[in-house]
């Protein structure tokens, strides 16, 4: 059974805006710890992405994005043709592909998703554009790389 989704005005922990730059470190000190990686609006990537830090995407990605333990945010300028695996996935831009959130999935008002969502909690903000299936069933059924090619709800055919 699904868990209750978050209110539509929910403001979950998300990757901060890219313009928030850390102050330059004084000479000789340790380099600043970056809170997240950013793919800027002029960057276009064809291929798979994996990593161990939060990611903000403002550019284009065509491939698979796999950061299961981290937050993935598709910014307003982001254009993704890929399946995304993340802990918390937030979409403000456009995604064509399936989304697998370990904890939560949020489609913001400006977001467009054409694909299937699998996450224990899903929030669709008013004005968001979504076409596809939403599956909030238990975790063991959800995050299964390779399962994205299976037809929606195939298991319940009579």
């Amino acid at each position: 059974m699904w868990k209750k989704s978050e209110p539509e005005t929910l403001n979950p922990p998300s990757v901060p805006a890219p313009q928030a730059q850390p102050a330059p470190a004084p000479r000789g000190s340790a380099p600043p710890i970056r809170e997240h990686a950013v793919i800027g609006p002029t960057i276009s990537i064809k291929g798979d992405l994996t990593g161990e830090e939060d990611l903000l995407i403002e550019g284009r990605v065509d491939g698979k994005i796999e950061l299961k333990r981290h937050c993935v945010t598709v910014g307003k300028n982001g254009r993704i043709k890929a399946d995304i695996y993340g802990r918390i996935i937030t979409v403000e831009g456009t995604v064509e592909g399936n989304l697998y959130g370990e904890e939560q999935m949020i489609v913001r008002q400006s977001g467009t998703v054409h694909g299937n969502i699998v996450a224990p909690r899903v929030a669709l903000e008013d004005g968001s554009n979504f076409k596809g299936s939403i599956d909030m069933s238990p975790k063991e059924k959800t995050i299964a790389p390779g399962a994205q090619d299976k037809p929606f709800m195939q298991n319940k055919a009579p």
Binding site: W2, E8, L124, G132, M136, F152, K156
Partner: protein, 205 residues
């Protein structure tokens, strides 16, 4: 076309939704096809009943472009428009007020297409306007609770209402039979039809 001030959303009783919820109580998880647009609150509402919800958002495809016309059939190519994955089966189909915006031949084609994704007992919920005029554009419906819907009008325009009659609808929806129908005070009739399998259903008409 008749112009009117842009109407505010209005909350109305929904006996059909109540009946549908009663059917689903204790069903232990079902799959829902929503032909309407994505509404977070609706997804949250259905989450208590179901395992999955598929949002087809047919509203965003309206009015249907000529490119989806099927030259061999008197109705559009619904597979091209909706494109449901093969092999999936739904327990509930939410058609809202869509059927008012199609001729009965197109309704028959749509139902015929949807039948491929039904199993015996699949319920389809829809609203028919029994008024002289109806909203020019399809209305979005937000579920308030088990017995109330919030009508969210897209525009102020009005158009002539086809006033589909029960017998004609029942004929267009062969293989389905009426489970419930409710005439509401606002001139809307809510229907709950149930798929009976391959044999054409007799209906209640």
């Amino acid at each position: 076309m008749i112009r009117r001030p842009h109407p505010e959303p209005v909350v109305q009783n929904s006996l059909g939704l109540s009946a549908l919820c009663r059917r689903l109580e204790g069903s232990g998880g079902c799959n829902i096809l929503d032909l309407g647009p994505a509404r977070g609150s609706n997804v949250e509402f259905w989450s208590r009943f179901c395992g999955s919800i598929y949002i087809a958002d047919l509203y965003s495809s309206m009015p249907l472009p000529e490119s989806v016309a099927d030259p061999d059939l008197p109705w559009p190519n619904w597979d091209l428009i909706i494109g449901l994955p093969q092999g999936c089966r739904f327990d509930v189909i939410l058609a809202w007020d869509l059927l008012n915006y199609f001729e009965l031949s197109a309704v028959a084609g749509l139902v015929d297409y949807l039948t491929r994704f039904c199993r015996p007992g699949t319920a389809i919920f829809f609203l028919i306007f029994d008024l002289r005029e109806m909203p020019e554009e399809i209305t979005a419906y937000r579920i308030v609770d088990e017995s109330h819907l919030r009508y969210e009008y897209k525009s102020a325009g009005m158009r002539t209402c086809p006033r589909h009659q029960f017998r004609a609808l029942a004929a267009a929806m062969r293989n389905f039979q009426t489970a419930n129908s409710f005439r509401l005070r606002n001139g809307v009739i809510e229907y709950l039809f149930v798929y009976g399998g391959d044999k054409p259903a007799a209906g209640l008409g």
